[in-house]
Symmetry: C3
Subunit: 172 residues, 3 copies
C-alpha cells in the first residue's frame, strides 16, 4: 500500500511537471504560428490565436479589440501591401512565465521588408503576450507591441517580463 502510494505520488509529480513543459511548448508553438499566418495572408486564422475578445495593442497603429478587428488589421491595405511587396514577421525565442491557466511571454519581433533592392528591418519591437488557457488550449488575451526606438514604453514592457498581472502600458 505504502509502495503504491509512493508510486502514485511519483506519477502525480511527473504528470504535473510534464504538463508544465507541454504548456510552455504550446505557447511557443502559438507564437511560432503567428508569422507564417500573417505573412501568407491567413488573417482570420492569425486573429484566431487571440480569444474572441482579445486585444492587440500595436505601437504607431492603435488598439484592435476582438478577433474581427484584429483580422481586419491584417486584411487592411497597410499589411496587405507589405506582404504583397514581401515581408517576414519574425519572432525570436520568448521568455515564458506560466502560472496555472495564465502565462506571459516576452520577446522581440523584427519585421523585414523587401524594397526591390534588398531587405531591411523596418520594425524592431518588444512584445508582451498575455495568454490564458481554456478548454481549447492557449489563446492570447492581450498582445502589446512597442518599438525599440528609445521610448520608455518599450523598456517598461520588457521590465514586466516576470509579472503575470495584466500590464498597464504607460501613456505616450
Amino acid at each position: 500500500m505504502t509502495e503504491n502510494l509512493t508510486i502514485a505520488s511519483r506519477l502525480d509529480a511527473l504528470e504535473k511537471r510534464l504538463r508544465a513543459l507541454e504548456d510552455e511548448r504550446a505557447i511557443r508553438q502559438l507564437i511560432a504560428a503567428y508569422g507564417p499566418l500573417v505573412d501568407s495572408g491567413a488573417s482570420a486564422a492569425a486573429a484566431a490565436l487571440w480569444e474572441p475578445d482579445g486585444v492587440y495593442d500595436i505601437a504607431n497603429t492603435g488598439i484592435a479589440h476582438g478577433c474581427d478587428a484584429i483580422a481586419a488589421l491584417f486584411d487592411g491595405p497597410f499589411h496587405q501591401d507589405l506582404i504583397a511587396s514581401g515581408a517576414a514577421h519574425t519572432l525570436g525565442p520568448a521568455h515564458i512565465v506560466i502560472d496555472g491557466l495564465r502565462a506571459v511571454a516576452t520577446g522581440y519581433s523584427v519585421v523585414f521588408a523587401w524594397n526591390k533592392v534588398g531587405f531591411a528591418p523596418t520594425r524592431v519591437a518588444a512584445n508582451r503576450w498575455e495568454l490564458v488557457r481554456d478548454v481549447d488550449g492557449w489563446r492570447v488575451r492581450r498582445r502589446f507591441n512597442r518599438l525599440l526606438d528609445g521610448a520608455e514604453a518599450s523598456r517598461v514592457l520588457l521590465r514586466a517580463a516576470q509579472q503575470l498581472d495584466p500590464f498597464e502600458p504607460p501613456h505616450g
Copy 2:
C-alpha cells in the same frame, strides 16, 4: 491488479507524451545545429543533417539531391566566399508538427552578411523542413527555402505549415 493496471496505463501515457516533447526537442536541436555548421565550414556535417538521399531546394540557387550535392553546395565558391567575408545563417523558432515518424517544421531564415562597413540582411526566406525519424534519430528529407520578396511561392510554403504530406512547390 486493477491498481497496477492503472499505474501501467499512466506510465504508458507519460512515456508517450514525453516522447512527443523529446521529438520536438530533437527537431529544434537539428535546426539549431544548421547555422553553426554551415557558417564554420563544416560542410559534410551540415549535409549529414539530411538523409543520404535528402533534398535541399533553395530559391535562386537550385535543387541539390543527396548529401554529397548538398555538401558540395556549402563547399562551393558562393558559400565559401560568403563565410570568408563574414556571414550568419540565422534560423528563428520553428512551428513544428509531428506525426509519428514524420514531421514538418516551418520558420524563417535570415542571412546577415558583413560588407566591411556593416552587416546587412541579404536573404530573408520562408523555410519548410520535412523530417523523418529513423533508428539514428531525426533527419531532413526535404528542405524548401523561398525568398520573402513578394513571390507567391513563399506564401504557399507558409500556408502549408500544418500539412504533413510532401509539399508540392508551385512553378516559377
Copy 3:
C-alpha cells in the same frame, strides 16, 4: 514484486528524461531573459545570470570578470547610450548540449539599433554560453561573443558547439 520493480525502473527513467527536458528549458529561459534585462536597463539582474565569478568575453570590448564587472559593462556609457537611443539585443534559438551539471549553448546574437531614420543590425555575432547547474539552478560560467565579420575566431567558436570542455579562444 517484479512488477513493482519494473514500475520503479520506468518511473526512474521517466524522471531522468523529464529532468533533461527541464534542464534544456531552463537554459533556453535564461538566454531568453538576457535581452529584456539588458535592453530595459536591469543591469544587476542581467549580470546575475552569470555565476558570481562568471566571465563575459566580448569581441571588440574586452573581458569582464565577475558579476560586478559585467553589471558595470551594462551600466557603462556605451550600453546606456545604445538603449537610450533604442536597441534590441536579440538572441536566436541555441544549440544546447547538456552533461549532468554543465552545459554549452551555441547561437547567434543580433543587435538592432535605431538611428532616428531606421533600424540597423549593428552587431551580428556567434555566442558560446558555458553553463553550470548549482542549487539555485543554471547560471553562466563563461560567455564568449565573436563578431561574424570573417574572423576565424567566430568560426572556431561555432565549431565547438558539441564540445563541453572549457573553450580556449584563439588569439587575435
